[in-house]
């Protein structure tokens, strides 16, 4: 045999396949490919063709998978099994960092030691190439990127093998991802009975391919390859009509089917774990017995766990299994498009096969959102940026209420925090935890955080004393559009702890008071002893260029201020809402009542800004916890205009 | 706690013996230098296992009976599996059998290291616990923990975890390890072998209270191997019955005024099970390394006569099983199938295995589907209980001259020599009212 020219399409006889594996190994790569283990074709280390599932395939149906033996000698005559490649570029558990805290309260943060393996993926299907493409958008599409993913991805060479043996659970044809290989591979193979049609997709792939002993593929071979692809396509058919699926699905948020699915759904998380694109994670800390050194670890999580959308003090935004299933399905097939510009589903069928009770998304989609019309959605430009903890020192502690303190924090790094944008920071304490906290004041060399003890981490944070250290991320999220309020009247409505993130708005307005029209500040708290910033509220109230109203829900007889809900502070006011912008923060129900009252005062949804409360874990839109409709609250919010949120706002179980 | 009553009568009472598995009390009454009453009382709550397994499938019974005792779950699993395999006439693959010995070896090393170092050694060295012992002799306790860890690691590899492992089933295992997984344990086991030698040398220097008596030792006996889960039930005075025929030589009997089921020979005599019995009845089958070590320390006679020297027998068995485990690993080839299939049928059979504390005997009767119709479980501690009380009676006069607290500690130490596992003994619960 002679080497074929670059432009020709090569053919590798089956006997030469071991050479390909060896070349990949010689390239310093661990080869990961299909192998039989525990009754399935999984992805594991491949040293020899004998490790491949020669002559073995799998029969698949909803909730069902069994190995079957073929008459032929093919290595890749199976449809995708339980493993997906995400495991290798996005590990199930990953040490993110190591931190220390000594007995004097000094803290330090460092990266976890990391080794990025040099891998070759062997036997990647078209649907799986598409899945990697989707993960690329999620992790590398910005504004924040996952550098670990980037490194693993960059260190991987992809040998794709075109699918000829689809399963009964496949629907790549509907999702437009397969079965034909189009892009994303370094080397592409088409397996025929006698060997492989070989093409290179990248220079890296070409470097390997040129070292193989290839014949030129014959016309018959090329035809056979095309025929088997066409046959595969025909076998799959078009089980899901995707035209207009985005809108059809989102129009059915109140379908009774969600509750019916929940009767079957185990919320076991298997679909999300098997899915090649699901990317939700949680982060926890493990420490030594004394809490001196801790490791922060990220692990795969799932929107099907109850804790996933849980917030402090027992709140949960998706309490029912039907809420979680709806979240998963609508995200995968609709809001994913709004966020990332593609569907989140590649049609590989893993969630169907590996659902222990065989729930079939194809069937559910067709029942919930029967066919047909148009889809949409542009992607955003990427801005690589990764947050890292900086050490801050507690300069002052002011007790606000029995369970709330304001910490004044400074950093020696010289950044002028008074101009830093972003709405909140991730505050971490080694061996204790990390929580998102809104910035309640920007200082020239630091900031203030007002923290209420509602969970284990905040309980420790509220007990810190002057001199203690904490780790802070850079400010994250989209904050209040205060500049947009210049030349307008401003209405600020806070409830409970919600006054804390609003305080920087007041600071900013007061710094250039003349640029704004009338300014009204309304604040409601539970009882008089829960009122934050009492002295500042009094100082603001004493000014003649601010209107300040404070009310509490209940009080004893010694309280001479107002008692009642916060909306009563302004629902009969005489100001003209049509000239005002409103900034609202507080518990979700308080925001709802406030928004209704503001609408009654003439404010339109585009001029009402609210801050959403959700479970925020990573702070940079990569863990999935804080998803609401098409948004990640941490990255796209937490401040949104009501117009932006549309009917996502106030919907149960979103 | 001890109390002195009348001038001529002394009573030793330990409410809640410590450093034993489970809950029991010790009560002794002495009249004019003569022991009038000696009782080891169990107040462990009854858990009705023999009834709980009725109607259950054999593999479920293996998991359920393990919960009788968290210290020796493998013993329960192996004895139960043996009984069912006898009923269903299942042939066990030799490699699977070797793996079962290896799993059991893990339990011996763990259980014996726990007893020698954490429970019993503090008695010999004058401490209240291994934690106190560690303050003065940290290296000693660390050596014990290291040995224990190796035993646990063996069980965790073969069974998934050391307490209530999940891998055993009728016919074999659910899952067997790859050779490389076993080989990975070799360095730790080789190190453990050295530490086991050191353990034996350590305990050989202990001072055992002088107390010697003749005793009937009962154990399994196999023609070719150190007794574990096969062979016959024998004694050093002529008992020799099939492994399924425990009832042909022994019985559980009730004592007047109590509801306790104590085991006795058919002629109503007490007997001793456990490490001293095995080392005495099967010394020639110890691993050569252990045999040599026994010759070196020269305590074979003491082990046979003085119950306090059971600590040496235990140390010897740790050494034996470290050596045997290494051999099994070296010879291991994964079996063709992890378990042999079997067909359920109606039948009945008994089977026993040598738990670390002695023979644990199960008997089951099954229906046509293989579900359990009736069960009998005879744990080692209920068999040893009569001998413990007899020893207490015989030993007590020797400590009467000692200070009361010290005398009581000696009596407790004697009870601990049997490593009584009271959790196992639930079904011989003694509820005699104190003073009745």
């Amino acid at each position: 045999m002679t080497n074929v020219t670059k432009s020709a399409i090569g053919f590798l006889p089956r006997a030469g396949f071991q050479h390909l594996i060896e070349l990949l190994a010689e390239d310093g790569r661990t080869v990961i490919g299909p192998t039989v283990a525990d009754g399935a074709i999984v992805y594991g280390e491949i040293h020899h063709v004998a490790d491949l599932p020669q002559g073995i395939g799998a029969e698949q149906a909803p909730g069902h998978y069994r190995l079957v033996h073929h008459a032929d000698e093919r290595f890749f005559a199976y449809a995708v099994g339980p493993t997906s490649w995400k495991r290798f570029v996005f590990p199930p558990t990953l040490a993110l960092g190591e931190s220390r805290r000594d007995d004097h309260g000094h803290v330090s943060f460092g990266p976890a030691p990391r080794e990025i393996p040099r891998l070759a993926f062997l036997g990647v299907r078209a649907c799986e190439l598409a899945a990697l493409g989707i993960e690329d958008r999620v992790f590398l599409g910005g504004p924040y990127t996952d550098e670990d993913y980037r490194a693993r991805r960059a260190n991987t060479l992809i040998v794709a093998v075109q699918c000829a043996e689809p399963a009964a659970t496949c629907f790549c044809t509907s999702m437009g991802t397969g079965p034909g290989i189009r892009s994303g591979h370094d080397i592409a193979l088409i397996e025929l009975d006698e060997g492989f049609i070989v093409t290179a997709g990248t220079p890296a792939g070409s470097a390997i391919v040129t070292r193989l002993d290839l014949a030129e593929a014959t016309a018959e071979q090329l035809t056979a390859g095309a025929d088997q692809l066409a046959a595969a396509r025909d076998r799959i058919g078009d089980p899901v009509v995707t035209a207009g699926l985005h809108d059809r699905l989102l129009a059915k948020l109140e379908s009774p089917r969600w509750a019916q699915i929940a009767e079957r759904c185990l919320a076991c998380t298997n679909c999300t774990a098997a899915c090649p694109t699901c990317f939700c994670t949680s982060v926890s800390q493990r420490s030594d017995l004394d809490g001196h050194t801790a490791t922060t670890e990220r692990r795969w999580d799932s929107c099907f766990t109850k804790g996933f959308a849980a917030v402090a003090l027992g709140g949960n935004f998706r309490p029912r299994v039907q809420d979680r299933y709806r979240q998963w399905l609508t995200h995968k097939f609709a809001t994913w498009i709004d966020q990332f510009g593609t569907s989140g589903c590649v049609g590989c069928g893993r969630c169907i096969t590996w659902c222990p009770v065989g729930i079939d998304v194809r069937e559910e989609l067709n029942v919930i959102a029967p066919p047909p019309q148009v889809s949409a959605g542009p992607a955003e430009a990427a801005q690589p940026h990764a947050p890292r903890s900086s050490v801050f020192r507690v300069e002052g502690v002011r007790r606000e209420t029995h369970d709330t303190v304001t910490l004044a924090l400074s950093t020696p790094d010289g950044i002028d925090w008074s101009t830093a944008r972003g709405e909140f920071v991730m505050v971490s304490l080694p061996a204790v935890g990390a929580v998102p906290i809104s910035i309640s004041r920007r200082l020239p060399r630091g900031l203030e955080l007002t923290i209420r003890a509602v969970g284990p981490t905040t309980t420790v944070l509220t007990g810190l004393e002057r001199g203690a250290e904490v780790g802070l991320s850079a400010p994250l999220g989209h904050g209040w559009p205060v500049a947009a309020a210049q030349e307008h009247d401003v209405v600020i409505v806070g409830g409970g702890m919600g006054l804390a993130p609003l305080r920087p708005i007041v600071d900013e307005i007061l710094a250039a008071r003349s640029r704004y029209g009338d300014v009204h500040i309304y604040y409601g708290a539970r009882t008089p002893s829960d009122v934050l910033y009492t002295e500042e509220l009094a100082a603001w109230a004493a000014r003649d260029d601010l209107e300040v109203g404070v009310t509490v829900d209940r009080a004893d007889a010694t309280w001479l201020g107002r008692v009642g809900v916060v909306t009563h502070l302004f629902d009969r006011a005489r100001w003209d809402g049509t000239k005002a912008l409103a900034f609202v923060c507080g518990p979700e129900r308080m925001i709802q009542a406030t928004v209704n009252a503001l609408a009654g005062r003439g404010l339109t949804p585009d001029r009402i800004f609210i801050s959403m409360e959700r479970h925020m874990e990573c702070g940079v839109g990569l863990c999935g916890h804080c998803q609401v409709g098409p948004f990640f609250v941490c990255k796209d919010g937490p401040v949104f205009s009501l117009a932006q949120l549309g009917d996502v706002f106030g919907r149960e179980g979103i | 706690m001890t109390t002195e009553s009348a001038t001529f009568e002394r009573s030793f009472h330990v409410e809640g013996i410590t450093r034993v598995e489970g809950e029991g009390t010790l009560h002794l009454t002495v009249h004019d230098g003569q022991v009038s009453d000696a009782r080891l009382k169990i107040f462990e709550a009854p858990r009705y296992f023999e009834q709980l397994v009725v109607g259950r499938a054999p593999d479920e019974v293996i998991d359920i009976t393990a919960r009788i005792c968290g210290i020796c779950p493998v013993a329960y699993q192996i004895s139960a599996a043996g009984a069912f395999e006898s009923i269903f006439e299942v042939q066990i693959d030799p490699q699977v059998r070797a793996l079962r010995r290896l799993l059991y070896a893990g339990e011996y090393i763990e259980s014996h290291a726990l007893h020698v170092y954490l429970l019993h050694a503090p008695d010999f060295l004058g401490y209240a616990s291994a934690i106190d012992l560690a303050k003065d002799h940290r290296a000693v306790v660390e050596q014990g923990l290291a040995l224990k860890k190796v035993g646990n690691a063996l069980m965790a590899l073969l069974g998934g975890r050391s307490v209530h492992p999940v891998s055993l089933r009728v016919g074999g295992f659910y899952h067997v390890p790859r050779r490389a997984e076993l080989e990975a344990l070799r360095p730790a086991l080789a190190n453990a072998l050295t530490q086991a030698q050191a353990t034996l040398d350590l305990v050989a220097q202990f001072q055992a209270p002088p107390f010697e008596r003749p005793v009937r030792f009962v154990s399994l006996k196999h023609p070719a191997e150190y007794p574990l889960f096969d062979g016959r039930i024998v004694s050093n005075d002529g008992i020799d019955v099939g492994i399924g025929e425990w009832r042909a030589a022994f019985r559980e009997e009730q004592h007047e005024g109590t509801n306790a089921l104590h085991a006795r020979t058919l002629s109503g005599e007490t007997y001793q099970l456990g490490p001293s019995a095995r080392v005495t009845n099967a010394a020639d089958q110890l691993h050569p390394i252990a045999r040599e070590a026994l010759a070196r320390i020269g305590l074979q006679e003491e082990i046979a006569r003085n119950p306090f020297w059971s600590i040496a027998a235990r140390a010897l068995e740790i050494l034996h099983y470290c050596a045997e485990a290494l051999e099994i690993i070296d010879a291991y080839l994964p079996p063709a199938a992890p378990f042999a299939p079997w067909t359920p049928r109606a039948g009945a059979a008994g089977w026993g295995s040598e738990a670390p504390r002695g023979i644990l005997w199960h008997h089951y009767e099954t229906d046509e589907q293989g579900l359990v119709r009736s069960a009998q479980i005879v744990p080692p501690t209920s068999q040893n209980q009569g001998q413990i009380e007899a020893d207490l009676r015989a030993f007590a006069p020797a400590v009467l001259s000692l200070e009361h607290g010290e005398a009581t500690r000696r009596l407790e130490q004697l009870v601990r020599s049997y490593d009584p596992c009271i959790s196992c003994a639930t079904h011989f619960l003694d509820l005699t009212v104190e003073g009745a």
Partner: protein, 287 residues
């Protein structure tokens, strides 16, 4: 217990009710941490390990076992009074354990079957989890408990935070570990989807189905899973027996067992279980 240390260490007690001792043993099995823990905590009561005894007070007490005799009932109230934090460890303490299966059946018949003179045996009609009688501050599930979770609990106690014990299905850990689903790929019934993780998805890693050591997770959909067991070819009784393990008395496993009629002596079980569950059947109805 006498300590030379000058700073007061938290006082730890370990007490036992009806159980197999395996969870306490898990503490002694922390070979790498045991001595370090003993240096940071005063172990004032742990009869399995030390002859020092204490009736309290305790900063933390770990309780193993279920409440199944009148004495234990008294004891658990006493322990609660003496303990600042009471942590139940293991399936017996948190769910009643295997012995709680007697709660489904007729207690007297059970007793008579094992003991010739049942009148001498003093035990409550049922074996109950500790939380049925006293307030429990935290729990470690499992039969036995998991060593890593125990270390996490101790670390949390020492560093003053809440232990991190996620409530998710065994499946989540199983998939992270890269295991192949035994139910889908081999048709083996597995309680993983309805069982709380903590064991590290041990059984599927040993080619068998989860048997529920850690008990039901939140919102466990046992009826959907039992339907699936039946469609895999198991009889309702077999499916019921799968739930009737070491946490079978915990809801909603308990309901599934009764509904499927899977416990031996089902005729007894039905009525008895209804009584145990307070379904309003006359308590004198049968004994």
């Amino acid at each position: 217990m006498i300590r030379a240390a000058t700073t007061p260490h938290p006082r730890l007690g370990v007490v036992k009710l009806a159980s197999c001792d395996g969870c306490q043993l898990t503490l002694l099995n922390l070979e790498d941490e045991l001595l370090a823990i003993a240096e940071r905590l005063d172990i004032v009561e742990f009869p399995e390990a030390t002859s020092h005894r204490s009736n309290g007070p305790y900063d933390v007490v770990l309780v193993e076992g279920s409440v199944s005799t009148p004495e234990q009932l008294e004891q658990i109230h006493e322990v609660r009074r003496e303990a600042k934090l009471l942590v139940t460890i293991g399936a017996c303490a948190t769910a009643g354990g295997i012995q709680a299966l007697r709660n489904f059946a007729d207690h007297d018949a059970f007793r008579a079957a094992v003991y010739a003179h049942p009148e001498y045996i003093e035990s409550l009609a049922t074996a109950q989890p500790v939380a049925d009688y006293v307030k429990v501050d935290a729990e470690l599930r499992g039969c036995p408990i998991n060593a890593a979770q125990l270390v996490e609990l101790v670390t949390a106690l020492l560093t003053g935070r809440r232990p991190n014990l996620p409530d998710e299905a065994v499946c989540a850990a199983c998939k992270r570990a890269g295991r192949v689903c035994v139910m889908v790929a081999q048709g083996i019934p597995c309680l993983g989807p309805v069982t709380m993780t903590g064991c590290g998805a041990l059984c599927p890693g040993y080619s068998r189905g989860c048997y529920g050591c850690f008990g039901p997770r939140e919102q466990a959909n046992v009826s959907s899973l039992s339907r699936q067991f039946i469609s895999l070819g198991r009889s309702p009784q077999e499916a019921g027996r799968l739930f009737a393990g070491f946490t079978g008395y915990a809801e909603p496993y308990r309901d599934a067992i009764v509904e499927l009629g899977g416990l031996p002596g089902a005729s007894l079980a039905g009525e008895r279980a209804h009584r145990a569950m307070g379904a309003g059947v006359n308590a004198e109805g049968k004994s």
